[in-house]
Chain length 339, copies 2
């Protein structure tokens, strides 16, 4: 009724750029209806997750449209993967300022198309709206997993080993590169880190294989320490880890060698989209075999322990001298607080 994209404009954009993304999923009805239908396979249930990314907060205004699209989709697929779910479909809410050109939308849809092929998902519905604010993208992703088997935050047991996939800190250090905070870093390392910031690699193939191994798990989006605290909090436990056990990429090692305080950025910065999970002490061999068969590095980084009275649901990170790095909810007290 008030300034929306004109109906014909919106419908034409949907027909041109988004309806093709629904092909192959009958319940999407070619985006020609008001709702979509979806059912899990027998003995499975649907796993649903929604996540929003906002321009100027979760991505930079100049980021290419296709990368914004892929990031918006992948942060949701990462959650599904960490829960052990196989991704199937997604809904897209695209809230755009009137200044956005059709070229941007074309690039955005091309990014989605590329990732749909990579992850085997389909767009099954959505909404377009205009805003006086920044580009805002809300995705709701649908996956499926055997009934009652998703990997929860709260299942960790005292004595469980804490594992993490891939490497930690690349995206946060990549953002530092984009903010010109790492001027002395070599170009190859800088490019690697920036790419990791722009494009999460959700562990979609690995995640479902963790069902039956992981006692608890989630994807690392808020930062390794904060996300490990989430597992601790819901599981009613604490965790002990050592900073030197946390897997770092060669590029992150180079960046941190230039200033050891940057380790704090790596451990707390977030946007890693790796899977952090716990498994019983006897599971090491199965985890190692899974790492080999999947080609995904999986590193043990610590242990779940009973919380002391004084330290409920805490995460203790030891430095190379075995001293605990003090951690407050606002950041590290031992390191620089500035990501």
């Amino acid at each position: 009724m008030t300034p929306k994209p004109s109906p014909s404009g919106e419908f034409e954009l949907i027909e041109r750029y988004f309806a093709p993304l629904s092909r192959g999923f009958p319940g999407a009805y070619g985006l020609l209806d008001d709702a979509a239908v979806i059912s899990p396979a027998p003995k499975n249930e649907l796993v649903v997750k929604t996540d929003v990314i906002v321009g100027g907060i979760d991505f930079l205004p100049d980021d290419p449209a296709d990368l914004v699209a892929r990031k918006g989709l992948r942060v949701n697929l990462s959650d599904l993967a960490a829960k052990g779910a196989v991704p199937r479909a997604y809904l897209l809410d695209l809230i755009l300022p009137n200044t956005v050109q059709e070229e941007w939308i074309a690039g955005f849809a091309a990014g989605l198309s590329q990732d749909q092929a990579e992850y085997g998902v389909h767009l099954i519905g959505g909404d377009m709206s205009s805003t006086s604010g920044p580009i805002t993208i809300a995705v709701t992703a649908f996956g499926e997993a055997p009934i009652g088997r998703i990997i929860r935050r709260g299942g960790a047991q005292a004595g469980d080993t804490v594992f993490v996939t891939g490497t930690i800190g690349d995206a946060a250090l990549g953002l530092s590169v984009l903010r010109a905070a790492l001027p002395a870093l070599d170009a190859a390392s800088a490019a690697y880190l920036v790419d990791r910031y722009h494009l999460p690699r959700p562990r979609v193939a690995l995640g479902p294989q963790l069902i039956g191994i992981a006692t608890a798990g989630l994807d690392v989006s808020d930062g390794l320490v904060a996300d490990l605290r989430h597992i601790c909090s819901v599981s009613g436990l604490s965790a002990v880890t050592e900073a030197r056990w946390v897997p770092l990429s060669p590029a992150a090692c180079t960046a941190i060698a230039g200033d050891p305080q940057r380790l704090a950025i790596a451990l707390t910065g977030g946007d890693d989209y790796e899977i952090l999970f716990t498994a019983p002490p006897g599971a090491e061999a199965r985890v190692a075999e899974l790492s080999r068969s999947s080609g995904v590095p999986i590193t043990p980084i610590g242990r779940m322990v009973v919380s002391s009275e004084a330290d409920q649901s805490g995460v203790v990170v030891l430095d190379d001298l075995g001293q605990a790095l003090g951690f407050a909810s606002e950041g590290w007290t031992h390191f620089s607080d500035s990501p």
Copy 2:
């Protein structure tokens, strides 16, 4: 990494205001996990719909928070109802400027709570994010319906009768009242219309009973004429209706009596959230019985016809003299274009 609500602030708000809204739905895990699980009952499938409302576009900046919440939820429930689905749950993305106070969030959650009780749905997940733009609310609603039976846009047949529930035009005229465009209208009529703008009444109980009767259907959100065109377009037909058959509330009649051009606002303004559907010629008696048993007025307003070559997927609205009101995609040519 960049200005988000501080994690503890966000988590506390979720625990205080939103986690209670998930009680009674086990698959929501108390909003303590990263995803929710949901399954349809045997022989049913899930019906999913997402819709965004943006401050300054879909609601007014001063609208009370509880009404904004209820509108954000109800526009989605209305879509599910028109598809014949029984609503079960929803996800909420709440994207707020930093200026929003906790009091607003409390009111927003109270509005959701009230509607959850009214419609039997539960909050099962969501995301909170900050924005430099206006309040933006994305809801994804989940309903269920018998497999393969939802009411589509494309099922209308030539000869089918077109029906609409309730009354048309109240919300659009209510917005005119809020814009001070109807200064001569009596206070009671004005209040009625404004209430209809603020608070849609999705036909949740009626919708599922239309399965097996309706050949096509949708909810009236873009405006009666535009939405009837949607049915025509996907069904490959045209429709003929008469303006005098369109059901109007006494308040709308009073407003239109003051200026007949306001009928255009009623027929094209939108935000009605009534169900527009088609049914075979023999279904009149069943529709009338359903109207009696449900207490929802259901009015026949026209007929689906084969499109002429010259008039593909058109909607013809006749005036009291039997003359066609010319309709272009941008609005009425016969009436004033100004809602």
